[in-house]
């Protein structure tokens, strides 16, 4: 790395983004007002499964301000099918996914009609005047019942089974046959866990504006994926890709929930084309919860075999994953992303993973923070605690005897991945020290002895994850339709200022700040002299966008390579300017010098010389810009040790997190302030899965948790202060040594909390409690309720729903 007085990498820079965000000078999509702009409102099905007999729009059409009312029939010829880019198997069943239902609705919340009016209130008014006649069909909700194929979500498919995906370590040559391990084991544990359905709940509701100016369609969208969206909108509509410009302005969170090509983006585009005027659609929160994709929703049957001394030998995972009614952009691949993570940091000899994806009449599922990996980590970390309980061993000791030792890296796992670096001992030692593990165990013992109504539990989670999505060849082997590279451009301006164009698309992560730090360090220019451009396909024409903790590990590396290209060319020109051999040119702190002399040219001097191009070496092109695209050859593998202490009131079932320690190894840290923030937010979402959140459908398929009054996103008073620290083993798969941090906290924390609660009440006869661990569920479990009984207790609030789609 270029030496500068004070390295930018590692510095807790305050964020460039904040100036506009704390003063309200923001550019959210919904802020846009265009001349002649019309407003779109969407009517959504109140029933989960029905044939549409008739839609009567006559009253709505005559209402004040209404320009047009359109139904699925109006779009049938042009809407095509929303894309699914991850056909995980050759024989995967994939039903047509119309943006607007034409003759059948398959989940409550699906679009059935839309109104275009001169303002949003009037558009919403007209929705109430549309009459739809439905012939209701049997509703398919339960995963296991769906597999019986008694009633079908999509009769044309002949089954509710979407696909079955298998990994077997013996077949892959990466391990033994798991059935042999199970057959010969001293101890075999079989458990079933439920990953409840979650709602991503980004704070900014989705919004789209389409301006069909001349023959160019400009699309503003609250999306994580402007580049993929442009490609897919073109593919679905047939509008030439170069006639579509997508802009993701300020985007208010995503967490995977905005990694989507949505029905509304497509409908807004088609409506704007039809009207020849700009059209805006902004969802209400209830609409968001009814129609934006959900996450998780799996049933995990896990079989673990071990020797009596605690050594694990085999792991078998049988998953049922709920796709909901349709396959969205990457729905089928989400459980597959977990397939390589169930073995986690442990040395299993044999491993088998079988996942069956199933259709139901529910909101489609897709990526949500962690996407497949939190589910995997939850299952294995719960199993390690189960094994410890079974063998009456300390849960940390049993992990330690099974994990990969730091001297064993790089390590190829039973799932076929090669972990490049890590030090589980170091992270664990630091976490134990910060937590006060032994003292808490002593207190736990005292409370048990004294039958204290408030019992103390200690939960462990020693997680790893694969992120930095992803090597393109691996994605190809997994049948994903796109690559996983990332791209960056550096424009050296004649005054020495720098424009960086990135293919990543931040929505809260702070790329403008961190990318500036990387470039400032590499080029030796001031942090303030770097401007980062992103999220507009007109300026950033190429990119794979932001998800899967990939932006820094992949996009940041592309940036390093682009900067190195700038320097390589500048070095050659500097040698020419200083009339020396290139080999004698040194570069430090933004200046070139001739070794052993006082001759110096700043990077700015060289850039200007390249720009005016009066005297360049033979064959050199004017200008000093550079592009680079980086395709990683491996994932990155952050890891860490999280410890959670909970107090469980056995008289009320109330759980209180007393302390939470997270020690993460995310490799090299560019900005510690931002990394800590990512961990805090990740922890909150993982804890929310453990204790608070659950999307509940009633027996008719109605989502009963479709407001923030019912879906319990935690507030400040629900969460503790976290103690965070880091250890570091740099990644070897990229020059920065970074691993990614966006998903770590979420992946690690859910099992830490649940293990902790169970640790508090296990001695009272409780073996398991389904998430979220609401007071009611914990109390019921303490009364001796069976796991099934406990699972039926709803965790949500009032269960209210607005059948009009929450239109204001």
């Amino acid at each position: 790395m270029t030496a500068t007085a004070e390295p930018e990498v590692g510095k807790a820079r305050l964020r460039k983004e904040d100036a506009r965000l704390i003063t309200g000078q923001t550019k959210w999509t919904d802020n846009l007002q265009l001349t002649g702009m019309l407003h779109m409102a969407v009517l959504r099905s109140p029933v989960a499964h029905a044939r549409i007999r008739n839609i009567d729009c006559s009253r709505a059409t005559t209402m004040p301000g209404v320009a047009v009312v359109l139904t699925g029939e109006d779009f049938a010829a042009e809407q095509g099918s929303l894309p699914c880019a991850w056909p995980i198997t050759e024989d995967m069943k994939s039903p047509p996914a119309p943006a607007m239902a034409v003759d059948q609705v398959n989940f409550a919340g699906e679009a059935v009609a839309l109104v275009i009016a001169d303002n949003a209130y009037r558009a919403a008014d007209a929705l109430a005047a549309i009459d739809v006649d439905y012939d209701e069909l049997p509703v398919v909700l339960d995963l296991q019942e769906a597999l019986q194929d008694t009633d079908l979500v999509h009769p044309d498919l002949g089954t509710n089974k979407c696909a079955t995906w298998v990994y077997d370590s013996a077949e892959a040559g990466a391990g033994t046959n798991v059935e042999d391990e199970i057959a010969s084991a001293d101890v075999v544990l079989e458990r079933t866990f439920r990953q409840q359905r979650l709602i991503p709940s980004f704070m900014e509701p989705r919004s789209v504006v389409v301006d069909p100016n001349a023959d160019m369609f400009t699309v503003w969208s609250a999306t994580q994926i402007p580049h993929i969206l442009r490609w897919m909108l073109s593919a679905v509509t047939g509008i030439a890709e170069h006639k579509i410009r997508v802009i993701a302005p300020d985007v208010g969170g995503g967490f995977g929930g905005k990694l989507q090509v949505t029905p509304e983006e497509l409908l807004c585009l088609l409506a704007a084309r039809r009207m020849g005027r700009p059209v805006k659609w902004t969802e209400s929160r209830t609409e968001s919860m009814l129609s934006a994709h959900h996450g998780r929703d799996q049933i995990q049957k896990i079989t673990l075999s071990a020797r009596r001394d605690g050594t694990v030998t085999g792991l078998k995972v049988e998953l049922l994953a709920d796709m909901g009614a349709y396959l969205r952009l990457v729905s089928p691949g989400i459980p597959v992303l977990g397939a390589f993570m169930y073995n986690a940091i442990y040395k299993f000899a044999g491993y088998r993973f079988v996942c069956t994806n199933v259709f139901t009449n529910k909101v489609p599922t897709d990526a949500y923070r962690g996407a497949g990996r939190p589910e995997a980590t939850f299952a294995i970390e719960r199993m390690m605690d189960e094994l410890a309980a079974e063998l009456d061993m300390d849960p940390m000791k049993i992990r330690e005897m099974n994990w990969i030792k730091h001297e064993e890296f790089p390590f190829t796992t039973v799932a076929g991945l090669t972990y490049d670096s890590g030090n589980y001992e170091a992270a664990t030692a630091r976490a134990m020290e910060l937590f006060g593990y032994e003292e808490l165990r002593e207190e736990q013992s005292r409370r048990r002895t004294s039958r204290d109504p408030v019992q103390l539990g200690i939960g462990v989670s020693t997680y790893t994850e694969m992120c930095g999505l992803a090597p393109s060849r691996v994605l190809g082997a997994l049948r994903y339709a796109a690559g996983g590279w990332e791209t960056a451009s550096i424009r050296m301006l004649p005054t020495g200022k720098v424009e960086v164009i990135t293919g990543t698309s931040p929505h809260g992560q702070g790329h403008e700040t961190v990318w500036s730090q990387i470039v400032a360090d590499r080029l030796g220019v001031p942090f303030e002299d770097v401007e980062v451009l992103h999220g507009d396909t007109a300026s950033s024409h190429k990119g794979m966008d932001s998800y899967g903790s990939r932006s820094l590990a992949v996009g940041g590396t592309a940036l390093v390579h682009a900067a190195d290209k700038v320097l390589a060319k500048a070095r050659r020109l500097a040698a020419h300017m200083m009339e020396c051999d290139e080999a004698d040119v040194e570069f430090a702190s933004g200046s070139f010098s001739v070794r052993g002399t006082s001759t110096v040219r700043t990077l700015g001097d060289v850039v200007l010389a390249a720009h005016v191009a009066h005297d360049l070496p033979e064959g050199m092109e004017p200008g000093m810009d550079a592009d680079a695209t980086f395709d990683p050859d491996n994932f990155s593998f952050p890891h860490g040790t999280h410890l959670c202490a909970t107090e469980v009131d056995t008289q009320t079932g109330m759980v209180k997190i007393r302390s939470y320690v997270a020690v993460d190894d995310v490799g090299t840290v560019v900005n510690p302030l931002i990394v800590d923030g990512q961990v805090h937010g990740g922890l909150a979402q993982g804890i929310a899965q453990a204790l608070f959140e659950e999307a509940v459908h009633d027996e008719m398929g109605t989502l009963t948790t479709a407001t923030f009054a019912d879906y319990l996103v935690p507030c400040a008073a629900d969460l503790p202060a976290f103690i965070t620290d880091r250890t570091s083993t740099p990644a070897t798969s990229n020059p920065l040594g970074v691993k990614g941090v966006g998903e770590a906290g979420t992946i690690a924390s859910t099992p830490a909390v649940v293990n902790s609660v169970l640790d508090a009440v296990r001695h009272m006869g409780v073996r398991d409690i389904n998430m979220p661990l609401s007071p009611e569920r914990v109390w019921t479990a303490l009364q001796g309720g069976s796991a099934d009984d406990v699972g039926d207790v709803a965790a949500g609030g009032l269960g209210s729903i607005d059948s009009q789609g929450g239109q204001s």
Binding site: L14, I22, G253, D676, G681, A716, A717
Partner: protein
């Protein structure tokens, strides 16, 4: 209905539908898009503004209810290019990521600090119960509010609280549409 509302120091006179929500009046009619809408039920607090110096959720009020009152939004906090100490504390403590909840969070924090000049962790957390953030886990928000409390203490610097609504100077009505 005819209303007259002072927003961020400017008095506006407008005809509005009785059903128009205050937040939509601010955003759509006045172009005050710094205040945002995050939910429909008053749970998220993203739309929080001050009405006569006290925090309210502007999605839970009609514009007509603000008739004759003074509204302060996130856009009216800075004075002469100087940020309010709570804004400054949010920046220096990395109390925001995507920033969508931030305007409401800052407005609520100012209201909280008006009642509690030196709040402990629990007081801050309880005081922000009506404002949801999905990015930060609240840790740095709590820290920022406590930091702001120190910055705003008497003697801690210039009298930053001078721009309470008492000091808002009404200007000429500029009208709406």
């Amino acid at each position: 209905m005819h209303i007259s509302v002072n927003v961020d120091g400017v008095t506006y006179a407008d005809e509005v539908e009785p059903r128009l929500l205050l937040v939509h009046y601010l955003r759509e009619r006045l172009g005050k898009t710094g205040t945002v809408v995050g939910c429909d039920t008053g749970n998220c607090g993203a739309c929080t503004v001050h009405l006569d110096g006290h925090s309210v959720k502007s999605c839970q009020m009609f514009a007509v209810q603000a008739n004759g009152h003074e509204v302060t939004t996130i856009e009216g906090l800075a004075r002469d290019g100087r940020l309010h100490p709570v804004q400054e504390a949010f920046r220096t403590n990395h109390a925001l990521q995507c920033g969508f909840c931030t305007p409401g969070m800052i407005m609520q924090a100012i209201d909280l600090l008006a009642d509690e000049s030196d709040p402990d962790d629990e007081t801050v957390r309880k005081g922000l119960e009506g404002n949801l953030c999905r990015c930060t886990g609240y840790q740095n928000i709590v820290r920022a509010v406590q930091d702001a409390a120190q910055r705003m203490k008497p003697g801690a610097g210039p009298k930053m609280e001078q721009h309470s609504d008492d000091h808002v100077v009404s200007k000429q009505p500029v009208g709406g549409e």
